[in-house]
Symmetry: C2
Subunit: 163 residues, 2 copies
C-alpha cells in the first residue's frame, strides 16, 4: 500500500505523455473504442495548438507514473461556461481518490480562466451508476436529464458545478 | 400578398446558395455575429464534404427566393440522436409558417436517416420567448433546462422530438 501514501502530483501533460494517456484510456472499462478515438482527437488538438487549443488536459502522477487524466474546455457560444469532457483513472488505481483530486484541480483551472459554470455530461446506463454517484458526492448537482439520449434506455445526465 | 399563396419549396442547397443563406442569417435579428460565424463554418463543412458532412442543410424557397434554412446533424457518441442546430427565416418572411415547414422536413429527413431522437437547444433570454413558444406549438417537448448556461440569467432550454 506504499502507492497510496506517495504524493499525487497534478500537472499539464506534454506531447510525450500522449502514448501513456491513450493507453490508460483504452484500459478504462467504461470507455468504448469510439470514446477513446474521441479522446485521441482532442489530445491531438491539444498538443498541436498548445495554448490556443479549445481543449485542456490535466494528468495525475504518483512516483512518476501517470494514473489519471482529465479533459475539459470552453463551451462554444456561451459566456464563461465550460465542459468537463473526460475523466479517466487507471483501471488499477481506482478508489484511491484520484478522480476527486483531478475534478478539484479542473474546477480550480476553470475558475482561473474566468469560468462560471462547469457542465458534466454522463450516461444513464447501469454501469455508470458509480460515475453518477461520484459526481453527486463531489459537489456536483444533477441539473437535467434527457431520456434515451445515448440509446434507448440510456439517458443523458447533466451535472453542474457553479464556480 | 401574392407571396403567401405561392408554393413553398423545400430542398437541399448547393454551393451557390451559400452567399444568400449567410446573408439571410446575418439579417435574422436573433442571431449574433458569433452565431453567423458558426453557421458559416457548418456551411463550409457541408459544401466541402457533401454526403460525408456531419452537418445537413435544408432551404425553403418561394418563387425562386430563399426565405429560410435549417441546419441539423447527428450527435456524436450517441445511437441515432440528432441535433437541430439552426433555424433561420428571412426577417421579412416571418409569421408565414416557413419555420414550421422546415422543422417538419427536418424531422422527416432525420427519420429517413434512422434518427430516433431530435434535440433542439435554445436560449432562455426574453427575446427568445417566441422561439420557445414556436417549439412548444410544433410538437416539441421541453425536456430540460440548465440555469445560466449561455450567460448569467440566460438559461439553456432543451426541447426534444421523439421520432
Amino acid at each position: 500500500l506504499a502507492l497510496s501514501t506517495a504524493a499525487l502530483e497534478i500537472g499539464i501533460p506534454t506531447p510525450p505523455d500522449g502514448e501513456r494517456l491513450l493507453e490508460l484510456a483504452r484500459r478504462v472499462k467504461l470507455f468504448s473504442a469510439e470514446d477513446v478515438e474521441t479522446i485521441r482527437e482532442l489530445w491531438t488538438e491539444f498538443v498541436t495548438k498548445g495554448g490556443d487549443s479549445w481543449y485542456h488536459f490535466l494528468i495525475a502522477r504518483r512516483g512518476g507514473e501517470m494514473l489519471g487524466f482529465a479533459c475539459y474546455g470552453r463551451r462554444a457560444l456561451t459566456e464563461s461556461t465550460w465542459d468537463f469532457y473526460w475523466l479517466g483513472v487507471d483501471q488499477n488505481a481506482q478508489g484511491q481518490g484520484i478522480g476527486k483530486v483531478l475534478l478539484r484541480e479542473v474546477k480550480e483551472s476553470v475558475r482561473q480562466h474566468g469560468g462560471r459554470l462547469l457542465l458534466i455530461e454522463t450516461a444513464g446506463k447501469p454501469e455508470f451508476e458509480p460515475t453518477r454517484q461520484f459526481y453527486l458526492h463531489t459537489g456536483c448537482a444533477l441539473e437535467a436529464r434527457i431520456r434515451d439520449f445515448y440509446a434507448p434506455g440510456d439517458d443523458l445526465f447533466i451535472f453542474t458545478v457553479r464556480l
